[in-house]
Symmetry: C2
């Protein structure tokens, strides 16, 4: 069996036609969902790229893997999907983005040369790079994209800045996509040379080169993440009236939670508080998704042609959503379903999974579940004392009898201006959240709690975090959170099986304490 | 400045004459306390040797360092006192016990050869071994003790088993100290060749060899830990009536907490439920302490003779206490002050500490405070994103204005028979406890809580863990515990200073998101 683990960057759960979007068309993802299971309540474990992805790659919550925000190195002590696979003689290839930051200090401390095979693998989070490109920067030497662009005639030292995220207006004037007011324009890059097209080509090339050799590929697109510059014709495929209505209310601005209020003062939120920003960005965002869907169609066709489509476990998901002006916010991070909930489609090719094919499953699945699912279905052993997610196999086979009743996410906002606005230290800038069927609860260090009643208020307009009438609910959710945090996997150097073997084993070890 | 960090093994806080023991004489420790500060409410962060010691050596709570019980390897990812010192060109010498288990799997995973200097240091928890001996096993090749014994005429392949922990009765018959009924007998080893004498000799030899070279030494005795076999004349220095009265009541056996009840079925507790066991062991235990105190006197005299006594930071403490039959329990682990509270004396030789000399400080200090105190007083930088304890410097200088109001401890009882008695998995066998001035609170996974009112019930006889009248107190302490667990240091790969420098720094990094 092959594994194709596809990630979109910053793709909202509600921006798929199979998830109910009334205008956006994602025909190929809809078809993918019909071939497998669409998990309708899938959540990330952090609403930020870096920590969310590290949860996907380690099967552990951010509080356990420690890479709590972008740019925080993934400790050399963490074991990733690539390393587990490698232990079983398989490799994990990468085309696209991971956001893994190398733990240089950790390598240096342990005398590990970053140039060796092991060092390289640790620096890259266990991935073997077909082409790595983390997006929203000019691609570096790990990617062939700049050279490719130049070979296609984009004559520039930095073709990404000059063509890929630049638009061109009717007068032929060039405008940077870093300014969102310009993203109604078509990108200066031809669609077939765009980031999404290029990375799809990389995946196809990899599959072709593999031939009959089985593979595991992480295809990780940098879109529809900002800069929101879509190539023609996708830049003009949707009008502002064909986007979801903005979800916000004046009431939200009254007695707002201090951290949320501080976020709203950040530039991206101020921009997204403008109607013209929302009406400019959302169509481009939808265009980028439509484009991504078309390239997935191309990829799946090629897989069919290569004869691997029916032998491949396919997982499609995203690292988090995007506010796009909802709740008077831009970007991501905070604890709204808009950001925390993601698309999640799994096609398990095994006959055992036929029973669930084409169904929608509304149980809570999480980012941490991907790694144990992949290992389980490939028959590769994991480390039960480390991995905190659960294999989705019983859900895919329709045999699960019990499942988690809530999902967990957290935030480190130490790197954000909001922290300074509030006068907090980096260690204080932390939040921990549970969401079950009924409630979204957030515990902030040194700040008030948040609570939303998702039954009465599915859009999360009314924060009940300080409402006296809900003190009991908050106390109950606090208890659940305490229980959750206490159960994290701390004893990573010894397996449960080893503990079992060592239980009450002192006499076998020649230690005879306690005898009268 | 030199540092002498002395640890006794399994020494109760109340078994010092300066702490109020009415019979036991610890003249040299009392004198030490007069030269510095005696911390009267010092607590370990786990009532088990291994995790408690790893908290001393890393400055981190067990939930953070991950070595949650004896025999659990200390992850190669953890930074120990020796490594911090080494980074500043100093070394940490060891004479005695550490209980560090090497993380062989971690070394292997990272391709680190355990035979190299780095590998050896990581295997040994950062210590450079003058003589390592973990106790309660025949000493291995890291210790010169067996050879020393044989050179003194103890003719045996295993002189420890045959002489050190063996006693001899009036008829000349030899009895093993593994059976507590025999510990009224004198050990077969001469006092001057006993474990405590030998390790004191090692420390003295080390100091003599250092000459004028400054040093940091961890002198870590294996006594008064079991086997409780004391050499003459200490075996008979105290009578059963010169021991503390046993603290237990019939009421404790009614409605006992399930985990405590399961512990009481373990062999060491069954034995210590016998009056004859208590009356046999306690005098020997006191004898071992008296002996230890005498050797500390010898050591301090030698330090004075060498001219280093007034240039040395001395810390004396223990890794936990010993029930000795209190609460119908033997050994340690559970959340009673008997076990969690330890002796803790600090002599800071600097003039800045003169103001507190000879005082008793009743603020909560913890095992995790030792490492940051040593680094602070030596001017060696630590890693603020890792170290969870606090430097005691402001307490020693009398300048502290605020301090922690509670102490934290935890337990992993996965390795104990009690877990099986209760039908729990290793992952379930965990408890997390806070103790403040008034309350001792314990949260057990999948078991009832415990609560003791230390004002009304200083001996912890009445568990209010399920008392309806104390639901509010428990809820408040649960909230404190949640806050505590949420504040553990997870982001170990990046310092707070680096976060501060990176805050809102995206534009400097060429990323211009969110601009309209």
């Amino acid at each position: 069996m092959n594994v194709l683990f596809i990630m979109a960057d910053q793709l909202r759960w509600d921006h798929l036609s199979c998830a109910g979007h009334p205008y956006l068309r994602t025909a190929h993802l809809d078809a993918l969902a019909r071939r497998g299971v669409r998990f309708d309540r899938a959540f990330v474990n952090s609403g930020v790229c870096g920590p969310s992805r590290m949860s996907y790659y380690t099967g552990r919550y951010p509080i356990s893997h420690g890479a709590t925000w972008n740019r925080v190195p993934l400790s050399v002590g963490e074991v990733t999907m690539g390393e587990y696979l490698r232990g079983a003689g398989r490799r994990l290839a990468l085309a696209g983005k991971t956001h893994v930051m190398p733990d240089q200090a950790g390598l240096e401390r342990l005398g590990i040369d970053g140039q060796t095979e092991l060092g390289t693998l640790l620096m890259r989070g266990g991935f073997e790079e077909v082409d790595r490109y983390d997006g929203h920067h000019p691609p570096g030497s790990e990617s062939g994209y700049p050279a490719y662009l130049r070979a296609q005639g984009y004559d520039s030292a930095d073709p990404w800045t000059d063509y890929v995220i630049a638009g061109i207006d009717a007068q032929g004037q060039v405008h940077s996509g870093w300014h969102m007011r310009h993203v109604h324009l078509p990108a200066r890059v031809a669609e077939r040379h765009s980031e999404t097209a290029y990375m799809t080509d990389q995946a196809i090339g990899f599959m072709q080169r593999q031939g009959s050799q089985p593979w595991v590929l992480h295809l990780s697109y940098v879109k529809p993440h900002w800069p929101y510059m879509a190539p023609a014709p996708y830049h003009a495929m949707y009008t502002a009236d064909q986007c979801l209505p903005v979800v916000r209310s004046q009431a939200e601005l009254q007695h707002a939670h201090p951290v949320v209020a501080a976020y709203r003062q950040q530039e991206e939120c101020v921009s997204f508080q403008r109607d013209d920003c929302i009406r400019t960005v959302r169509p481009a965002y939808q265009g980028l998704i439509h484009q991504l869907d078309d390239h997935l169609g191309r990829l799946f066709n090629e897989m069919e042609r290569l004869g691997v489509l029916d032998d491949t476990l396919i997982i499609f998901t995203a690292d988090h959503g995007d506010f796009l002006g909802d709740h008077w916010l831009g970007e991501k991070e905070l604890f709204y379903d808009t950001v925390q909930r993601v698309p999640f489609i799994v096609v398990d090719p095994r006959p055992e999974a036929d029973a669930t094919r084409g169904t929608v499953d509304s149980r809570f699945v999480e980012a941490v579940d991907v790694l144990p699912t992949v290992l389980d279905l490939l028959g590769v052993p994991g480390a039960s004392q480390r991995i905190e997610g659960r294999s989705l196999r019983p859900l895919l086979e329709g045999t699960a009898t019990d499942w988690r009743g809530f999902t967990y996410s957290e935030l480190d906002y130490g790197f954000r201006e909001a922290r300074r606005t509030l006068g907090m230290t980096p260690q204080q800038a932390r939040a921990f959240s549970l969401r079950n069927e009924r409630w979204r609860y957030v515990m902030w260090l040194d700040q008030p709690e948040q609570l939303f009643d998702l039954a009465a208020d599915p859009d999360q307009m009314h924060d009940l975090g300080t409402d006296p009438g809900h003190a009991g609910v908050r106390a109950e959710l606090r208890n659940r959170l305490l229980d959750f945090l206490a159960r994290r996997k701390h004893r990573t150097t010894m397996s449960d099986e080893a503990v079992e073997r060592s239980t009450a084993a002192h006499k076998r070890a020649g230690v005879f304490f306690g005898q009268w």
